[in-house]
Symmetry: C2
Subunit: 240 residues, 2 copies
């Protein structure tokens, strides 16, 4: 039976406020697992058998519309929890989770959740905070999609990805996992083509650099300006 070193996960938000001993109790119930790049960790609609903490790699969560289109719900970075359907009262996963690069997770059978929560109530409050901030982020996304142009939404998306999973490189910040134009389109509610056009234009003006499934932000600050700029900005409107 594989063991997990408590010190590796002690400072994750999920485990805030736990001592080494309690942590050991919790980790004893988990088992580590590896997922190869592009493999599915679970599928939308499937029985929510486990919940996870991502230790290494990156995971993409997607939802599929009745019409068959996919949209990207979020990217999971190391240290984050995902697949907590059971905790929020869902018997089935509401989205599909796919490893976008080779990834390592800790998995707890969902059936352990009630027992763990009963024993460690702080798990519930920690999860509440996590879900709460995800709700906030999702609301922000709704607001953006309601009020901003595609170009601004793409800028925001890149900045958010860089903030969450950016790696400092020679001439800027690189998004630290493979991500296609299509993915960005599915995050921002637009099409592959439009994203490609926008990124090309930014690349021409030196704002970013890219490659196949790679994006480097060269001028994050300028991108931020672009993201905040109202389309027809020519002075602060006097809103009532």
């Amino acid at each position: 039976m594989a063991k997990v070193d408590p010190s590796l996960v002690a400072d994750l938000p999920l485990f805030a406020g736990f001592g080494t001993e309690e942590l050991g109790d919790i980790l004893r119930e988990a088992r580590p697992a590896r997922f190869a790049k592009n493999s599915a960790i679970f599928d939308e609609g499937q029985d929510a058998h486990s919940f996870f903490v991502l230790l290494h790699g990156h995971v993409r969560a997607t939802k599929t519309t009745p019409g068959g289109e996919q949209i990207v719900v979020r990217y999971v970075a190391p240290g984050e929890t995902f697949g907590v359907a059971m905790a929020i009262g869902l018997p089935r996963y509401p989205a599909t989770a796919t490893a976008v690069e080779d990834s390592v997770v800790l998995a707890w059978p969902s059936s352990t959740w009630p027992r763990l929560v009963a024993k460690f109530p702080a798990l519930a409050t920690n999860t509440l905070q996590t879900i709460g901030s995800r709700l906030q982020e999702t609301h922000t996304r709704v607001v953006e999609m309601s009020t901003q142009q595609v170009e601004q939404r793409v800028a925001h998306a890149l900045l958010r990805l860089a903030g969450q999973s950016g790696r400092q490189v020679e001439h800027g910040v690189e998004i630290d996992f493979p991500i296609s134009r299509q993915d960005i389109a599915q995050m921002t509610g637009t099409t592959l083509h439009t994203v490609s056009r926008i990124l090309s234009s930014w690349e021409r003006s030196g704002l970013i650099a890219g490659g196949r499934q790679r994006i480097v932000l060269r001028e994050p600050h300028k991108l931020l300006v672009l993201a905040e700029a109202a389309s027809g900005e020519d002075g602060p409107p006097d809103r009532a």
Copy 2:
């Protein structure tokens, strides 16, 4: 000091699994309050001093963009909780809450939350489920905004409102609180004008009936068909 009859709130999701006695303990900390139509219950950015359960009336939650535009986050129906910022770790309200009609709430000072949760852990898990389903709904909204036409989004919005706060009337289901075209526009990420055009057209074809701040769904089923229909539908595409 006003008292609250436990039997009035015993079957709210927030209090699922509580006995009359425990309920009394919790309710002792709350005080009821009335808010007149169009008055603010709290404002975005303000200190999250209290959290609430809506007993009567309807409340609209809105967010304001940096540019000054408003979008409607949700409508709160009787029995639902709102303003739970503190529970999800936010010191300030992330949105503005306005009574859209004369409303009665129960208010707990946010400072009581940690104590209540410590004493009654089920409060945390109940809230987790509530927030979880709100996260789901918000994701659904993102998906809709990403993939559907305005007309379909408006149809969905009306159906959701009817489901949540519909009142059976003579010739259909009426949305049971005052709601303007502008509000619907702010829920669906479009403009007042487009909503007006769509509703007019639906009214002409008998799908709905309306009036100032009133909407009656006459043919919910047809509306549902409209909501689900893909724009260029001419046969089920064979999606991989």
